[in-house]
Amino acid sequence: MAVKSVIEAVREAMREEMRRDERVFVMGEDVGWRGGVFLATQGFIEEFGEARVIDTPLAEASIMGIALGASFRGLHPIAEVEFADFVWPTVNQLIGEAARVCYGTDGKLNAPMTIRIPYGGGIRGGLYHSQSVEAYFFHTPGLKVVAPATPYDAKGLLKASIRDNNPVVFLEHKKTYRLVRGEVPEDDYVLPIGRAEVKRAGSSITLVSYGLMLHYCLEAAEQLAAEGVAQVEVVDLRTLRPLDTATVLESVKKTGKLLIVHEDNITGGVGSEIAALAADAAFDYLDAPITRLCGPDVPTMPFAQTLEDAYMPNTHKIAEALRTLAAY
């Protein structure tokens, strides 16, 4: 199998789906001749033409509304929000409208659209190019929310998202784009939305994460194994909504201890829901307080290197939290 980066996997998924299905098209700022600011659509306009690769005006609300309207006509738009930080103008259409198409029409109409959103930090993006926005969509019934960590998952899940008959918010961590590489099959494959994966089996602590942080979690887990402190089971959520509660709870019931890691702000983040689920459905199995290691409650990470480093959870901090939990 060829080794590819996350951005290559994303590009391949879209290209294959556009070749496979005429109803699929991409739209967004700079997706045309520029090939996207992260080059996710590089070469697309040359292959598919201006009609299916639409450089939109700089107007995010309309990108979402127009994608939604096109989906009403049976198309499968892939709308790109250039950076997660600019998603706000879209939410009237995304949270207010797209999420309710099926419910609000008693199942008569649906919105088969994919919204690709590069998110996250650690790239010196400062307050307006680093944000994690998953919690907002995670809380919204009617949306699906996917957040892969590896090239393999990114490709399989993006293809699934494009084929899905619902609005899928597809979150791509910007720092993983070129940093994370892995094997990706050449042939067509699709991964199911809504399934977490145990990326590392273990028995003493359950560590739940997604996106960039998953890789730091795996590193920390290796570290603790090497130190002989704990065998950490690492669960990659992959899909945030619908959440694969079964996989999480099964792991927690086995280990009795739970650490949740995400880069997003801690209060009201996805981690709070994981904790709440476990504190209810796995209560009798818990041997220690449910702990979270997440971004602090400041408006995403600042620009200066020192400040960004201070914000970001990392392998070292995760290992520390695991040690505390192991010792409990």
Partner: protein, 353 residues
């Protein structure tokens, strides 16, 4: 490029000929090409029915049986005129707004309308999950997902983009109020439609108010239509109290949209009732203004015109009204006897399969 209110596009608004005035509205034009007297009689029949339903719905609200309703009274000529043009065209898709009872009635029986307003099982738009006649009636080419003001504009433009991609010849009509013109999404929708010359007709039913906010606080201009120029397509002011003018303008706009791209029609209308059943317009609207508006009632105007032109006899006109009353009574009884949807429905259809 055409100027709002001053010039015409594709000959729209031509044809005004003589001095026949009905309630102050000039109705003396020749019948537009392709419109027969029977068409107008049929439209009148439907207008009378819509009005009768509209009035009954308001009454039912006062009786506690309809939680909320926005009345279309005063907007009927604009709505019906545009609808007639779209029906004659035969390949149009509609994104109406909450005040467009006339548009949505096109595919429904009076009973279906009543089921919807009373929140009963079998509501054709959302099975009573939503406000009355909100959701979709795909069988009749209608989507109105929400009552979020202006949210449908970008959707309609996207729909038109989809039509273009699929290579069909469909034209999309999207309806909205003067208040909606202020929303950022309205700007974005028109801008995109202009750039891609999409087959969309933007129909602004300007009644001079957004709930209580008068036009002078909504915009610093007289005509919304004038904004079309800034998007590179024509905008026209239409007398929306005049069925024929509304018809002609829309017919031309549909043809233009299919051929060359978007058109903005600003239909000047009067809101004859408070904003909704929840509103008390006496707080902010002079009584004389409302009374004056009622003298220009578009249903009465069309009726008088048909009588004057002898397209209809007085007996026929009476029978149309009697029929409408009977239909509304039957619909009310039928809907009243229908239960609301089963509680178990609440959890269904969050996601499509």
């Amino acid at each position: 490029m055409t100027q709002a209110g001053t010039q015409t596009t594709d000959g729209i608004a031509g044809g005004i000929a003589g001095p026949l005035e009905v309630d102050g509205i000039d109705m003396s034009r020749r019948l537009p090409q392709g419109v027969a007297p029977e068409d107008l009689v049929d439209i009148y029949r439907r207008m009378v029915l819509v009005r009768a339903l509209d009035e009954r719905i308001w009454m039912m609200n006062r009786q506690g049986k309809v939680p909320i309703a926005a009345s279309g009274q005063g907007h009927e000529a604009a709505q019906m005129g545009s609808l007639l043009a779209a029906e004659k065209d035969g390949n149009c898709f509609f994104f109406p707004y909450y005040r467009d009872l006339s548009i949505k009635m096109s595919g429904l029986t009076p009973t279906q309308v009543m089921l919807s307003f009373m929140g009963k099982a079998g509501d054709a738009y959302s099975n009573a999950r939503q406000f009355p006649l909100q959701g979709a009636d795909l069988a009749h080419n209608i989507i109105q997902l929400s009552n979020v003001v202006a949210a449908s504009l970008t959707q309609s433009v996207g729909y038109a983009l989809g039509c273009r991609m699929l290579g069909d010849e469909r034209v999309t009509l999207v309806y909205f109020g003067d208040g909606a013109s202020s929303q950022g999404e309205t700007h974005e929708a028109m801008n995109f439609a202009g750039v891609h010359r999409l087959p969309v007709v933007f129909i602004c039913e300007n009644n001079g108010y957004a709930i209580s906010v008068p036009q002078r606080l909504q915009m610093a201009i007289g005509d919304v239509a004038g904004r079309a120029e800034g998007y590179g397509f024509p905008g026209l002011v239409v007398d929306g109290m005049d069925l024929l003018h509304s018809y002609e303008a829309t017919a031309e706009a549909i043809a233009h949209a299919r051929r060359e791209g978007p058109v903005l029609l600003e239909m000047k209308v009067e809101r004859l009732m408070p904003h909704t059943t929840d509103d008390d317009d006496s707080r902010y609207r002079p009584r004389e203004e409302v009374e004056a508006a009622k003298l220009r009632d578009p249903v009465a105007t069309l009726g008088a015109y048909l009588l004057a032109e002898a397209f209809l006899t007085e007996e026929q006109e009476e029978e149309i009204k009697a029929q409408a009353r009977r239909a509304v009574n039957e619909a009310t009884d039928a809907a009243d006897a229908t239960p609301p949807p089963d509680a178990g429905e609440m959890l269904k259809h969050v996601y499509a399969p």
